[in-house]
């Protein structure tokens, strides 16, 4: 091992930064989805939990973890995302 | 061997605390819905007016919470094995554990005292009830120090007297007590003394602590008593 992180990690990092900017833009009210009922909110939540999923998968290295652990993490992400969207949009 | 029997009984005291205390509180009417900081004076006075039921239930619950003392002792015995020559964390757990027992006992005795004379002035009843509940909910420090001491000792234990995940559970339980002093600042809502993140969270996590410690200690006592299992444990270490 030469001590360098795989390129995938850097790609995920850039993706996270971009996603953060997108959600900030969506949330700042200047986005064109303002009229749609909760569409911006739903998108914001979805993007956020996608970010969390990737932090788990690639930063926490859960992609090479035992499937039980990965499943537990993903269940948390899914359940909280669904609950958040339900409470925000419905 | 008698010592092992005593150790095992003390370990069982952990889950027994949960059972007996819960029964006591159910009888007294503290559970399922306890009095809240937002309860009206009439509600509080009314609660303590069912004096026989409340007295009986609270007395049972005081016996229940006193069962933490044997558990603290058996935790201490095992922590000495973990630490060796300078059992500072063991002492810390014993001292703070004893304090937690008192912190659980006094408020319940206070509530029992309120029920002793239900026809007191309502203001007095209200004040005593406030004191009892706030004393019950807010003193987090002895509990947290106890849990952290146990956790650190387990994680530093080369011999793996107790499984390492128990150490992490202790850290999580300690963390769950952090919001409790917020009970002083809120009279209603999820951070009041009856709030979901104060009373219910602490009740749940403390019960988990008692049950997890009791059961894993029981297993550890059994394993150290059985020479075959000891040999396996020795090679594992």
């Amino acid at each position: 091992m030469n001590g360098a992180a795989p390129r995938r990690v850097t790609v995920v990092f850039v993706g996270l930064v971009v996603a953060t900017c997108i959600t900030w833009w969506l949330g700042s009210g200047s986005s064109p989805t303002g009229g749609a009922l909760g569409l911006a909110a739903m998108l914001t939540v979805l993007i956020a939990f996608a970010k969390i999923y990737f932090i788990g998968r690639d930063f926490m290295e859960l992609r090479s973890a035992p499937s039980g652990l990965r499943a537990a993490f993903n269940v948390w992400v899914g359940a909280v995302a669904v609950a958040a969207i339900a409470l925000v949009v419905v | 061997m008698l010592t092992n029997r005593i150790l095992t009984l003390c370990a069982w005291a952990g889950p027994a605390t949960v059972v007996v205390a819960l029964i006591g509180w159910l009888v007294a009417g503290v559970l399922p819905i306890p009095l809240g900081s937002e309860s009206s004076v009439e509600k509080v006075v009314n609660f303590y007016s069912h004096d026989t039921r409340v007295l009986a239930g609270l007395v049972i619950s005081t016996l229940g919470v006193s069962l933490v003392f044997p558990l603290i002792a058996v935790i201490g015995v095992h922590m000495v094995r973990m630490e060796g020559r300078t059992p500072i964390l063991t002492f810390l757990q014993l001292i703070t554990g004893a304090a937690t027992g008192v912190c659980l006992l006094l408020p319940l005795l206070l509530m029992t005292t309120i029920a002793f004379r239900p026809d007191r002035s309502p203001e007095l009843t209200m004040t005593l009830n406030d004191i009892a509940w706030l004393l019950f909910i807010t003193p987090i420090a002895p509990f947290m120090i106890q849990n952290v001491a146990i956790g650190v000792a387990i994680l530093n234990d080369k011999r793996q007297t107790l499984p390492r995940w128990v150490g992490y559970v202790n850290f999580w339980v300690a963390f769950s007590f952090i919001p409790d002093p917020l009970a002083f600042f809120f009279h209603s809502g999820p951070f009041a003394w009856r709030g979901i993140f104060i009373f219910w969270l602490a009740l749940t996590t403390y019960a988990i602590f008692l049950i997890v410690m009791g059961l894993t200690l029981r297993k550890a006592i059994r394993e150290s008593a059985d020479p075959d299992l000891s040999a396996v444990a020795a090679t594992a270490a």
Partner: protein, 223 residues
């Protein structure tokens, strides 16, 4: 590692190990069976009980927050607009960057590149300091505008959530510094793997919790 894992039969699924481990007899004192277990747990299994348990606690508080919001979305919206979104966003980026640095530090430590790992961990600690500084400024400006934890339900949750999170940042920073000390002592990867990975996983948890808090408290509430 628990007794069960060491005296378990590597050909059996993990959940069948250890229940009657005595029958297998004492295992030879070799280290855990390499590569026959499916997947590698970063850090150690017990730590994940804490991490997932912690995440669940935060999730519960966030869910209750969103539930409370439904009874008064307008007031929540107005309160949320009092928050300084750019600081929240900056803090999100700072933590994401620190997480990235921590991942690279893990790989550097694995590869024996100690100076590089030390620089990366130091940079992550620097990010934590920036986060804390921004947070302090944010708290100061909110409190001086009259918004305190008792200024209504929104601000109660805001201060409790961000306060608990800040505690985690502080603990995480202490852990990062402990890792830094290990790196200075040039502890080998085999000796430090569990601890370093555990500290890294804890830090990523701190990062992802902030993503959730920023999204739901700063952004969604303000919409």
């Amino acid at each position: 590692m628990t007794h069960a894992q060491v005296r378990g039969d590597p050909d059996l699924p993990e959940f069948l190990w250890g229940s009657d481990g005595v029958e297998d007899g004492p295992r030879p004192s070799s280290p855990r069976p390499a590569k026959t277990r499916p997947g590698h747990t970063p850090g150690e299994a017990g730590l994940w009980i804490f991490i997932l348990g912690d995440m669940t606690l935060f999730a519960a508080i966030l869910i209750v927050f969103l539930w409370e919001r439904r009874s008064d979305p307008v007031v929540f919206g107005e309160s949320a607009h009092q928050l300084i979104q750019p600081i929240g966003a900056a803090n999100t980026l700072v933590l994401v960057l620190s997480s990235y640095l921590v991942v690279r530090a893990v790989f550097a430590h694995r590869g024996g590149r100690y100076p590089q790992a030390r620089r990366l961990v130091a940079a992550a600690v620097g990010c934590a300091a920036v986060f804390a500084g921004l947070k302090a400024f944010e708290y100061y400006s909110e409190i001086s505008s009259g918004h305190t934890p008792s200024s209504g339900t929104f601000f109660t949750f805001y201060f409790v959530l961000t306060g608990l999170h800040l505690l985690h940042v502080i603990v995480g920073t202490v852990l990062l510094l402990a890792w830094q000390a290990m790196l200075k002592g040039r502890r080998s990867w085999t000796g430090s793997q569990k601890v370093a990975e555990g500290i890294a996983s804890y830090w990523h948890m701190v990062d992802l919790l902030w993503v959730a808090i920023f999204t739901l408290v700063y952004l969604v509430s303000a919409e």
